[in-house]
Structure formats: C-alpha cells, structure tokens
Amino acid sequence: MAAFLKFLFQSRNELESGGRNSLPVQGDASEPEKVCPNCHKSIPLSRLWANENTCSCGYHFRMSALQRIAYIADEDSFSEMFSDVSTQDPIHFPGYQKKLELTRISSKEDEAVICGTVRIGGVKCCIFIMEQYFMMGSMGTAVGERITRTFEYASEHRLPVVGYTVSGGARMQEGLFSLMQMAKTSGAVKRHSDLGLFYLVILTDPTTGGVTASFAMEGDVILAEPGATVGFAGARVIEQTTRKTLPKGFQTAEFLLDHGFVDAIAPRTVQKEMIASLLKLHSAGEEDEQ
C-alpha cells in the first residue's frame, strides 16, 4: 500500500514537472482501466485519478464537477451555495420530469451546475462548475438562476468569480425560459464587471450553444483546457448545412486560441497555478484582509 501511494505521488510530481511522455503505464492487473482515445493506451483508473484525469500523452479526460472542486479548491475551503434552487419545469415538456428524476439518480447531482465560495491559492472567490453528467450541462432555469445568484453574491461581497463551463447549450425542455437565461446571466456578469470585479472562465470539453453565446465568452480572461471542443453551432450541423469539410482541429480550444477568442490554454498540470496567479494579480492585496 505504501509503495502504491509512493507510486501515485511520484507520477503526479513528474507529470506536474512536465515529464509526461517518460511515464510508463503501470497498474494492478485486476484494476479497472480506461483506454485513452488519443494514444490508445490502457490507463488504470487510480492512476488516471491521481493525474487529474489526464493521460501521459497529454489527453484530458472529462471530469465531474466534484472532481474539479477537489482538484482546484484549497483544502476544505469549498462551501456550496444555492443548491436548493431547482427547476419549476416551466413549460411541462413531455418526459422532462422523468428525465430529471433519472438524471438525478444516475448523476447524484440535482442540477447541471455547482456554485459556491472557495479559496484558490489562498484567494477567496465565488466559483461555478458546470456538470456534464447532468444532461450534458444544459442550461435551464435552475442553472441560469444559480449562476446569476453567484454573480450577484460576488458583486455584493466584492469577490472575483471563477467559472468552469461545460454545456450542450440551452435546455430545450424548458423552451424560451432557457433561452432567457442567456440574457439573465449576461446581465449579472455585466453588473459584476461594471463594479471592477474579475471574472475568469475556464472552457472545458465540450462548451457549446447558448452557454458559449453567453457567460462562457464574457470573462475578463478566458482559459481553455487542451483539446476541448468549444463552439456555437454543432460541428455536425455545420457540416450538414454547408456541405463543406471542416478544417482540422475545427472548434478546438487551440482553434479558438488561433482565432483570438481564448487567452491561453490551461493544461491541468499547471491550471491551478495559472488560476491562483490570475486571482492574485487581480486581488490587489485583498486576500490578506479576508
């Protein structure tokens, strides 16, 4: 057990210092594994988790919101807010209630975003992390309301906001009410921004549709995880509509960087440090007072 722990720590440090390619893939033969879609190696789950869900080739696997909190938050600093906000099912779309119930059971979450306060590198901030395992992070009224309240809370308490986006877009089962969450959240972001407060976005795989066309693109600084799909219209829809072959790497984080819509790519090996640095650069000593 001690040897195994040592192994975990060792690999983690090596990965963090950039020694990605030299790491051999090892593990207990009986341990469940996941195959990397990039390099096709099998990776034991414990090893994947120890490396923030990244493969030694640099491929970033998706992460749940809770995993991200564990990864990004200073120890025991996360405090959840607005978890009681749930959808009122505004248009009674057929099958939606059932789908919500099943999703709640399978995802163990009650909505597609988790919000709260947290310390990152010692700096207190508000955070929202969207949850892909809840209806692919789609934005309905509850998601819009929770994110809006997060920005309003941050405005009231003069805190920066860090937001992790992952979303298939607006939640169609809530009709126009979902679409209006784009305007509502954007309004709250604008008020927060007009107070001179900092908003940092980390785009993760995939961020699309109405979330891309609202708060995901409204950060003062926008980071993106390597290889994340980020776009407005779906690639398949574009291909079908235009009947053109999509360029290589279309709608990836790197594509957005090339076209000037992302400030920097943030691999998980250095992501927490990047976020902490940016927060400190915008806190003007305020972290000492809190």
Partner: protein, 263 residues
Amino acid sequence: MNSNTAYEKVKIARSNKRPTAVDYIDNLLTDFIELHGDRRFADDGAIVGGIARLDGKPITVIGIEKGRNTKERMQHSFGSPNPEGYRKALRLMKQAEKFHRPVLCLVDTSGAYCGIGAEERGQGQAIAENLMEMMTLKTPAISIVIGEGGSGGALALSVSDRVWMMENSIYSVISPEGCASILWKDSAKAADAAENLQLTAQDSMTNGLIEKIIPEEKIGEVEFYASLKQQLIDEFSVLCEMDITELLEQRYQRFRKIGSTEL
C-alpha cells in the same frame, strides 16, 4: 382569436409572403439612412440598420432581413446573421446611446448563421457581447419579433425594455425540427415539438416573457402600419420619459425574474 396550431404558426411565421424588416422600416419610419459595416471585418447583409425618424424624431433601427425574393435572400444570407452582423448591430446601438436615440430592433431569423467562417470569427462571442451590452445600453429599446425568433440569433437583438411579437410570429430556444430530431430522432415530429415548446406569441404572452402581441388582421396594409406606428410612438414616449437608472434597473429585472424561484 387565432385558432392555428403551433406548427401552422411556425409555417406562417416563415412564409415568404410576410412583410420583412425593410417593409417595416419603409412603412413605419421616414428619412431612413442605411449605415453599413461593423468596422472590424465586413458588412453583413443579414442585418439592415441605420438612422431614421419615427414621428419626426431620430431613431436607430436595426432589423434582421430575410429578403423578399431569391436574389435578395442570397444577399441577406436568408436572414441568418454572421458575427459581423451582430457587431454591426452593437456598433449602431452604441451610436444610438451616444446620440440619445431610442433603438428599434426588428427580429426575424431562423437562427444565427451556421458556418465555418461564423465559428472562426466568434459567433458565440459576438452574441454574448450583445447580450451584455444591451442590458446596460443607456437608451430605450423595443424589439419586435416580426417572423421567426430563432434562439440565440434572435435574442442577440432582443435584450430590450419591451419585447413585442406579431400574432403569428414564433420565438423559440430551438427550431421544432431540431428539437424533434434531437429528442425523438425524427424531424417529422416537428409539429409535436412545436406544440410542446410553447413557441407561439400567445404562449410567450401567457408565460410572461413578452409585453404585447400585435394583431395581424391587416398585416402589410396601411392601417396595420399606422396602428403599429402609433403604439411605438406611445411606448417610446413613455420609455424616453423615464430616468435612465430606473429604465436600466427595470430592464435588468425584466430578465432577472425569468425562471427565478424567489419571486
């Protein structure tokens, strides 16, 4: 009053026999001067905008134009704006703010343009910026959905103090065909989707998402435009009288309350 099914209304809203944005501009306003370009990349024909007079007073008008025949529809990208279209719209809105002109937006799009170039030039970012900036634009704004209010592409011109819809217009988070194809893998179920999405003007009114429905009995006729013009004159005069801080607070709350569990 209106017994058409939701999907019949979708078809009416999309009909090429309906007046388009330029018809409204010609019939509601005078002295229209079209202003082109976003000053960044290009001029998007899907958005027609400029300065005109409403009842003698200067106004900025921005419309999504579908075109009235095949040639025009090509010129106007079938009413699906590219990012430069939304950036042109924002430029004209900021200009209106500077010169204290109210803004009238005429919304008619099946959605923002779906293409490689649109993604390369940041369709999502362009829409997002409009949502943010419209929310605090220091001048009154009214948006009218005159045909199709297609998702984010329509919302990018609809963060206004008042949103009105034509009687047979629609406003939806997704096209009924898209919804049916995603949920039921069958775009032929679009009529069911249309019914369930609550996308008609009447649904939007019942759901408290818009302020007014404009009747269409005499759509395109002199009386129709005269009546609509008078309603715009009356509403803008109320909005222009308001203290700007109060106006912006009301605009924020107009959207803030939608889907709020507290109220």
